[in-house]
Amino acid sequence: MTGRKLTWPLAFVLFGALIVSLFPVFWIVMTAIKPPTDWNASPAIWIPSHPTLINFKTLFDPDSIRAYGVGGVSQAATNSVFGSLLASVVGTALSVAIGLFAAIGISRYANGGKATPLIILSGRMFPPAAIAVPFVIIYSNVGLIDTYRGLIAIYVAGTLPFSTWMLKSFVDDLPREIEEAAMIDGRSRLMAHVFVTIPLIRGGLLATTLFVFILNWSEFMFALVLSYSNVTTIPVQLARYVTATAGTLYGVQAALAVLAMIPLVLAGLLIQSHLARGMTFGAVKR
């Protein structure tokens, strides 16, 4: 089964699949560096003859955006970048921290019965559009609409299943005896977890953090629904650029998209070996 060589026809297929996989990325990067004159060319241009970085500058310059005279969209992307960073970083940190403790609790103590794990997992099954409904109502009453606090709370709850389950599978991999040994050495149970368990799953902790970050950074629906003027994230900003301008702002939009992609592709490369574990809630390990 393993170990056979790649024949030429198969290599061709592999190459074809590679082209297909990377072409859209190629396209959007090329679009991001197209000068405005190339944007609406017909047929669309594949590789600009005079590539430029001006689109990236335009993104952060409110005057330039306004100069395009696009209806209602005079926002530079600066707020959205800031917003994405804030919501994603804080949301990830909290999600991983809470998930870490829950993971240790579930893995080592397994009480709280089956209910807690099930509740956490079911958070993934509900269509976001629907959970957004009560959220809008509750948040309006509590004054959390259009605040980062509110958005972060959702990001934490939404990614808690992943962080808990992924970390639980890492903690499960450690034999219980390690903590027992630390306790025999004189540490209390809690300290054993802090000084022994957690450092030993460092790698898994990093992988989980990056994985949750990817999820939060990509989140669209809740940000869309809960943000009005104060709160914006990159995905929402991108959607605004597209819908408001009926798509004639290609270069700038693409530039924002590329900016959005970069952290994720990097994060993805870093945690590649743990992706299978993360994507399947710990069911499949590498």
Binding site: W27, I28, G99, P127, V133, V136, L160, R187, V242
Partner: protein, 325 residues
């Protein structure tokens, strides 16, 4: 957490720490401290409770009323029993269409993602150079934000875009398609986008599964005279079944919520031909402000998703339970 509960937690922690430090000469290794376990899970439970359970309960209650934001407080809304649910299931053809449409699109996407992902995974079992780089490259589509994927393919499918250019190159100048003007083409565009985005997940999971299959049964089959094809269909694939099902369940759970890509590609159009359930609920709640009705729709979807997952997991229920132990 408010100050009072924080104080309570702090005192519990110090009690535990003191208790453990004193009692440590005789390690209680076989009896984990329940209190510590409960404490550790507390933040997670609180978050889930506040941010998941409470809104869910509110939404559930709301689904039995006829409340809209103009009605005043939710608590004063009139209960209408199962009216919303009846309306959805019996009269609301748009809802039923959205459900059927979502299921069909999901089924097609899952099938294609499985076939492509498996083919790629099998290819990766062979020996060739640059595997590591190629592996990363093939995982890339999965790592891109759904909105960006939607946006990118929206550009690609434009009338003057590269996909039409390639079609015209291959089949002549009349071969360009109006992807967003006709229902079947729009649905195809959505499917192509989804499959491109998530095939890497199947590839990743199936490759992990394939690598985990023990060598000796495969060798035994070869010694008994099986051809590579027979080995694949009779030994490898059946042994891969649990992993395949996990992949399907994971992906099924997410794909029924399809929103971001479709939003950027077609907004549900032309007409309602690509309107997924999530898009319909979004419209109900945030365009039409029919929040109670939308909540009912959401719970029906939740119920359906639970049933779907239950059915998908049935073949490997025993194996999963054993793995837990």
């Amino acid at each position: 957490m408010n100050e009072l509960s924080e104080l309570r937690v702090a005192s519990e922690v110090s009690d535990l720490a003191r208790e453990d430090a004193q009692g440590v000469t005789a390690p209680r290794s076989s009896l984990p401290s329940n209190r510590l376990g409960q404490l550790l899970m507390l933040p997670g439970q609180i978050v889930s409770l506040l941010v998941l359970v409470v809104p869910l309960v509110v939404a559930f209650y709301m689904s039995f009323t006829d409340w809209t934001p103009t009605h005043g407080s939710l608590l004063e809304a009139t209960l209408v029993g199962l009216d919303n649910y009846k309306e959805l299931l019996i009269y609301d053809t748009r809802f039923v269409e959205a459900v059927v449409r979502t299921l069909l699109i999901s089924a097609v996407c899952l099938a294609l993602e499985f076939v492509f992902g498996l083919s790629l995974a099998v290819l990766f079992l062979r020996e060739f150079r640059g595997k590591a780089i190629l592996f990363s490259a093939f995982l890339t589509p999965m790592m891109i934000l759904p909105v960006v994927v939607g946006y990118t393919f929206w550009m690609l499918f434009q009338s003057n875009g590269p996909i039409n250019q390639l079609l015209m190159l291959a089949f002549g100048s009349g071969a360009g398609l109006q992807w967003f003007r006709s229902a079947p083409l729009a649905v195809s565009a959505v499917i192509i986008t989804e499959v491109w985005h998530w095939t890497p997940l199947f590839f990743l999971i199936l490759l992990s599964g394939l690598n985990a299959i023990p060598e000796n049964p495969v060798r035994a089959a070869v010694i008994l005279g099986a051809t590579p094809r027979q080995v694949f269909w009779r030994i490898v694939l059946p042994m891969l079944k649990p992993v395949i099902i996990v992949a399907f369940v994971i992906r099924a759970m997410e794909i029924v919520k399809l929103f971001d890509e479709v939003f950027m590609l077609t907004r549900g159009g032309p007409g309602t031909s690509t309107e997924t359930i999530s898009l319909y609920i979004y419209k109900l709640a945030f365009a039409d402000f029919q929040l109670a009705y939308g909540a009912a729709a959401a719970f029906l979807v939740l119920l359906g998703t639970l049933v779907l997952i239950h059915l998908l997991l049935a073949p490997i229920r025993n194996q999963l339970l054993e793995a837990r132990r």
